[in-house]
Structures are given as structure tokens and as C-alpha cells.
């Protein structure tokens, strides 16, 4: 069975306690689909179904379970089952589970591990969250340069069952120092009497990771070099683990979520939206909301400064939201484009002048378009309500000119701010859409009233 499980059918079998039928059904399922089914069940039923799984897929199914379900099963299963699962699951998935549990629980669970697995788990947990070390698996195969392919194949058949991948294996020297990689491809293509040294990759063309690097670096390396696995070495070049490409799609997703949340003006959440406790959700949002609110208070101050003008021409007030929001929107657009281009490496801070020139022109054109619509709106509306006087033409031009200025300023601010943050060594994504909008709102009011003073002095003001 591929894809979404047929839940009603399953539900009926569970209600009827028809375990043998369930067991037969599960034989045809993939671990990932079994895991989805179990994750979707109420906690009380998860362990019942998990125990029905064929022995050979139980651990793999556990690896695919959602974190909540994993934690629930750790409590609900017998110590014997938990011991078996923890010792047989792959090291990187185990790290991902352990890092989410409270320290005391982790200590209890570590005691269940064999000495070998205990050492591995301890080592991997010692690396920082979000580092390559946390993604790393110590289950790889390494061979010597002077072996022939027959020896390698023999070695693989004996020791390869535990290896995280056999798509690539590694050549090390007598001290365990990484000297090259051997692709399954080359192993399969070469004649059995060739030597490892004949088919191994060039040492100085090897791409390696270190365990303390950020997982984002690993993602970049996988994207750039199109590999299915990359070796992790310590500072002396000794092979200590591997990272496989299947983990990278998850890392890409995680990093994307972080970027998008930052851009929406939220402190990135650690967990899925629906699982985050309400108070933490509010906290992650309140931080930025309050900062932006404090910044936006300057608009009130700016407007108080122009209260005299406002009193004389109330009509000016009615266009304020229209005008400042246009600045905010054009600023968000520019910031979005530049932040994304920076993170894709399409532009660097050295391109700032190039960007500035494009944005100056874009801003003028966009401002021109909105300004023209703005003038028409003001003038035709007055005509429509048949209270048109030449003052309305002046108001129209005030609105139109302000729009050109504010859209231009929004565009420039939105595009230059990410570059400036990057230059200062900060994360460009901090210049989120709401942040740029706030910045532009305050200055927008000043631009608007300055244009108004200039054009309406003597008539309305």
C-alpha cells in the first residue's frame, strides 16, 4: 500500500481487535506509511499497533514516526522493546530523538544502550544542535588503498549490512586518515582484479565536512557537488562519520521554514505550528510585534509635529494609510527579492551599486505608476462628488508626488537594508517585511507632509 492509508478500514479492524487481519495488512505496507498511520492514532492505540509490526520493519518504522509518537512509545513499550529499538536505530535518527527529550530521560535511555552504541550516542550529542555532527552517522565502510576489488566486495558482504549507505565507501590510510572515496558506480564498473587505488577519487578533489560546521554548510556542499553522501573528518583529516543526502531534503525544509518565519516577522519556531505550546507561540510573535510597535510609535510623534497642517487640511489625513502602505509594500517587495538573491548567492554585497541602480529605476517607475493612479483618484473623486476646485488638483499632485517619493524610498530602503545588515555581519533576513514597512511608514509621513507644505502653502496650508 502506497500513499495515504485507508483509515476507516483500519479503524474498524482496531475496534474489532482483529489483530491477525491488521498484521496481514501491515505486511504490504512501507515503513514510512506505517509510521504515518501510527502517528495519526490516539496515543493509547499506538503501542498496540506498533507491537503488531513485522520484526524486520519495526525499527525503521519507529525512525519515521513523529516525535510525539516516538516519545509516547518509549513510555508504552516494554524495556526490552525500547532497548532493541534504541540499539538498532540509525545513529543520526537516534540523535534527533534524544535531543528533543529532557536530560533526565536521556540519561535513562542511554543506560539501555550497548557500550558501543552508548559511546556513539554520547559523541554525537556532544555536537551543537544544527551542526553537521548531529546529522552524522558513524556507520560507514572504509577500505585500504592496496586492496583489490575482490577483497573490497568480500569485505562489503561481511561488514556492509550495518552501513548507512553503500553508494559510496571510503579509502583510509593505516592510521584512519581519509585518502579518497569509492563510488558504488566505480566498484560495479571495474573488473574484480583492479586495485582500490585505481578507482579511488583524486585526494585533492575530495569534498569533506567537519562535525562542527553548520548544517546549512552541508546543504550548500550537497547542492553544489551533487553527492549522495559526504565524509565528515576531524581537524587532522581522520574520518569520523558520514552525512547522507536524504537528510539534506529535511535540512532544506527546516532552513526554509526558518527563513520564511523570520521574513514574516516571527522568531522561528522549533516545532510544527500546531504542536508549539500557546504561550511560546505568543512569545515568539510578541517579541517582534512589540519592537515594531515601539518603532511605529514614531509615526504618532511625526504626525503630532504636523498637527497644525492637519488641522488646516483634514483631507490630508484621509490619504495617509494609502500613501504609507504603498511605501511599505514596495519596500517588502524589494527586501524579499534582495534577501532571497543574497541567500542564493546570485548577488553579493559588492553588487550593491548595481542593485541600487536597478532599484532606483524600478522605484521611479513603480512610484510613477501609483502616483498617476493616485492623482486620478483624487481629482476624479472630487469631480464625481461635484465639489471639484483647483485646490483638488493641488491635493492630487501632493498625493501623486508623495507616492513617487515614498515608493522610491521604500524600494531603496528595502533593497539596501539587507545588504547593509549583511555588511555588518548580521542576518539579512532580519529585515523582514514588517520591519521594512515600519521603517518606511515613519519616513513616509515626513515625505508626505513636506510635499504638502511645498505644494499647498498659500492655498490649503
Amino acid at each position: 500500500m502506497i500513499g495515504t492509508p485507508i483509515l476507516p478500514e483500519i479503524r474498524e479492524l482496531i475496534e474489532k481487535r482483529n489483530f491477525s487481519a491488521l498484521q496481514r495488512l501491515f505486511n504490504d505496507w512501507l515503513p514510512v506509511d506505517l509510521a504515518e498511520l501510527i502517528s495519526d492514532l490516539p496515543e493509547s492505540e499506538q503501542a498496540i499497533l506498533f507491537r503488531l509490526l513485522p520484526k524486520d520493519v519495526a525499527t525503521e518504522t519507529f525512525e519515521y514516526l513523529e516525535l510525539d509518537a516516538q516519545q509516547n512509545l518509549l513510555n508504552a513499550l516494554t524495556q526490552k522493546d525500547v532497548t532493541h529499538i534504541l540499539n538498532s536505530m540509525s545513529a543520526d535518527d537516534r540523535t534527533a530523538l534524544l535531543e528533543e527529550l529532557p536530560g533526565t530521560v536521556v540519561q535513562e535511555l542511554l543506560k539501555l544502550l550497548s557500550f558501543k552504541e552508548f559511546k556513539i550516542a554520547k559523541t554525537l550529542l556532544a555536537y551543537a544542535e544544527g551542526s553537521v555532527g548531529r546529522l552524522m552517522s558513524p556507520d560507514y565502510l572504509s577500505v585500504k588503498m592496496d586492496w583489490d576489488i575482490n577483497q573490497v566486495l568480500e569485505y562489503i558482504r561481511t561488514f556492509g549490512h550495518e552501513s548507512e549507505t553503500l553508494n559510496v565507501i571510503y579509502a583510509v590510510d593505516d592510521h584512519g586518515k581519509l585518502v579518497g572515496e569509492i563510488l558504488a558506480r566505480d566498484l560495479l564498473l571495474s573488473l574484480p582484479d583492479r586495485k582500490v587505488s585505481d578507482i579511488v577519487s583524486d585526494e585533492d578533489k575530495m569534498i569533506t565536512l567537519t562535525a562542527t560546521q553548520d548544517q546549512q554548510d552541508a546543504l550548500e556542499a550537497f547542492k553544489r557537488y551533487d553527492k549522495v553522501a559526504l565524509p565528515v573528518v576531524d581537524s587532522n583529516g581522520y574520518l569520523i562519520g558520514i552525512v547522507t543526502v536524504d537528510d539534506m531534503l529535511d535540512v532544506a525544509e527546516e532552513e526554509e521554514t526558518e527563513d520564511i518565519q523570520k521574513f514574516g516577522g516571527i522568531e522561528a519556531l522549533d516545532e510544527p505550528y500546531i504542536d508549539v505550546p500557546l504561550l511560546q507561540l505568543v512569545r515568539n510573535r510578541a517579541v517582534w510585534l512589540v519592537v515594531l510597535f515601539l518603532g511605529e510609535m514614531l509615526t504618532a510623534s511625526a504626525m503630532t509635529y504636523f498637527e497644525g497642517e492637519l488641522a488646516k487640511a483634514i483631507v490630508l489625513a484621509t490619504f495617509i494609510p494609502l500613501i504609507i502602505s504603498s511605501g511599505g509594500n514596495s519596500g517588502s517587495q524589494a527586501a524579499t527579492l534582495i534577501i532571497r538573491s543574497l541567500s542564493l548567492g546570485e548577488i553579493t554585497i559588492h553588487d550593491w551599486w548595481n542593485v541600487m541602480r536597478r532599484e532606483l529605476l524600478s522605484g521611479l517607475m513603480l512610484g510613477g505608476i501609483l502616483g498617476t493612479i493616485g492623482i486620478f483618484r483624487v481629482v476624479f473623486w472630487a469631480m464625481l462628488l461635484s465639489h471639484y476646485t483647483t485646490t483638488w488638483l493641488l491635493i492630487g499632485f501632493t498625493v501623486g508626488l508623495s507616492l513617487v517619493g515614498i515608493v522610491l524610498w521604500g524600494t531603496i530602503a528595502g533593497s539596501m537594508l539587507p545588504l547593509l545588515l549583511k555588511r555588518m555581519g548580521l542576518d539579512p533576513a532580519t529585515s523582514s517585511a514588517p520591519f521594512v514597512a515600519t521603517l518606511v511608514d515613519v519616513t513616509g509621513i515626513i515625505i508626505y507632509f513636506s510635499v504638502a507644505s511645498l505644494l499647498l502653502k498659500g492655498s490649503l496650508l
Copy 2:
């Protein structure tokens, strides 16, 4: 040489026309790094350097080049070189190049292909842009169920050199119908006298793609099933190609860029920011900017409606930007969270009530926080300027209560709109940050003045 090339050194060698030194240097470089170097050079120099490449890496380097550089080289190289490159590059990369060229150029280039490659290229180009067909490679190996492993290995050594991957090969029946997959892992682990049928995957557990599916579906399948390659079959189950995981990281990046740009209120760009012609850039931004502007015009109408109140209490106008922007910001936050959760499958539209409850509570708390700050701002400011009267307390409460209402409304609108769009079969990402902000601005003004009428009737109004 790994990573960023040392450009000044290269520059000097180019100036001096020291081609032999360049050639020696290039011997140690990876194709992807060579491609980056050549892509960064002025167009006039790209062909000169490309011709210096070792023959065995020229095609691979070409595959990694940026599109501009590829197009330039197609013009600058001899017809013989172009013919060689086009015939030897992998079919999926060739499709990606051809799909960006004008039709007449494509016709010319197709003539250079051998009959076999011509047929492949034509077939792949017939699939829609963004479909699995465009990512597909026809270079895979397929074997029969009754072969033994020795026969398979023999077959691989003879025909495997052209195959896009050997990490997985496929078992087909006598008619070419896909019946199972064989992982390099199992091939390496099994004894040579075993049969293909012993190690092949279960037929009903196979994951397959079809050529007309969207590339987003392929990405989902790779994420879910942790595969290094997936087979593509036609409607009758015949194997027609494969898609490999290395292309998926690029697809993920492309889809992410589209999401982020949409969310920033821009029609997604087809090319990198810096390469998009200025007029197209302006067009892609103007569409949404004008739509939002027209929507935001309603704020002016709303404010005109309250002009009487405004004239009596100018002070109310000064808080408008502060109040409506808070609604916009909380709306953007909520929309960001919900859009992302939907696209990750963490929530579905059936969770709407659950989401609504969380957002109601979040909105009340966030509104409470901002409202409290708002009241203090108004009252203490008045005290500070020592013109405090009880009216200021009323104004303070007007601002505070409006903030609660508007933040709550922003949160609800921002979270429900993506769900509503999804329900209507539209893309939830269309409810971009600027769009939600505009929606909330208009209603925000109505909320503000309604609260003001209620609280200030008899004192200020």
C-alpha cells in the same frame, strides 16, 4: 582546488595569455569550480578558457555553467565542439538548456544531435515546463528477473558507463514493464550466484512517478521515501526514465524561491534577480502593487466617512498609522505561520477550528500586550508634555481597545484567509503579507473610529 577560485591569479595568467599554466592549473579543479570560474568571466574570454579544459571534464563543466555562459559558448565554440557537447551532456541538463532558448535556435541545435539523442531530446521537450518529464533522464539500466547477479554485474560493466546512476537499477519483464528495483547496496551485499528475483524490491512496494506529474510531487516523494532515484513510468507501467535526487535539491530551491517571492507580494521571477530585464522586474512587481493600491484606496474612503469625527479630534488621526500597522503586522505573522504549516502538511483545512481557537487566544494576548503599551504611551506622553486631562485617559483607552480589536482581527484574518483560499482550491500563498496587511488596514480604520465614537461621544466627539 575546492571552493571559490583564486581569481586574481587566474586573471594574471589570462592577461599574459599563459595558456599552458592555466591548463596545468585546471587539471586539479572540479568541474563545478571550473564552471563557476568561467561563468564569472567576461563573455569574450569564456570560450578561450573553455577550450583549455581537459577533454574528459569539458562536457561536465558545461553542464554546471550558468545559462548565460552556456548560451554564449554555443555561439562562440566551433560547430564540432557544440555537436560533441550536446550529444554527450546528460539528457536532463540538455533539456534545461534547450527550454530557455528561442524556438529557432533549438531547431538548429537539434539538427546537430545524433538520431538517438535527437529522439530523446524531442521526447523530453514535449513535456510541460515544471513537470517530471523535464527532469527525467532516459539513461538507466534495466535487467531481467531470471538473471543471476554475475550476469547483472557483467551487464553493468558493459553498458553501465552511460547510466545516470548505478545506485539503483531496475528489473523489467520481457515487455519492458517495470517489476522491481535493485539497489547497488543489495547488489554488493549478495553472493554472485543469487538471482535478481532474490534481491529485487517487492513490486507492490515500488514508488514510481509519471512524466506528466508536477516536479513538486517528485520532491514530496523523494522527501517521504528517502530514495536516491525514482523510476518514471507511462500509464501502462512501462519504464521510460529515471529522476535522481541531486536534481531535487535544485527543485526544492526553485520552489522555495517561488514561495518566498509570492509571499513578499511579487509575481515569481523566472530568472535570478540580477538577470531579469528591468522592465520585466517592474512588471512583476507592479501587478501586485497596483492591486494592493486599489484595495488600500478604501482606507481613504473609510476615512472620508469619518471626516466629521476627525475634524473634531485631530489627535485621533495621529494614531492611525500606529494602529493599522499593528493589525497588518499581526496579520502577516499569522498568515506566515499558517501558509507554511499548510505547505508542510502539518495542518489541513480540517484543522480550521483548532487553528481558529489558537489564533483567537493568541490574538487576544498579543492585542492585550500592544493595547497596554498603547494606553501608557498616550497617557504618559500627555503627562510628560503636562497637558494631561481626563480626556487623554479616554483617548488612551480608545487607542488601547482599538489595538486589541485590530490585532485580534489581523490574527484571525491572517490565519483564516490561507485556509479559505485552500478550501476554494486556490494557492494559500497568494495571501501574501502585503495582501493581508491591506485587508486589515481598511477594516482597522472602521474598528478604530467605531471604538472612538463609543468612548469619546460627549467628550471629544
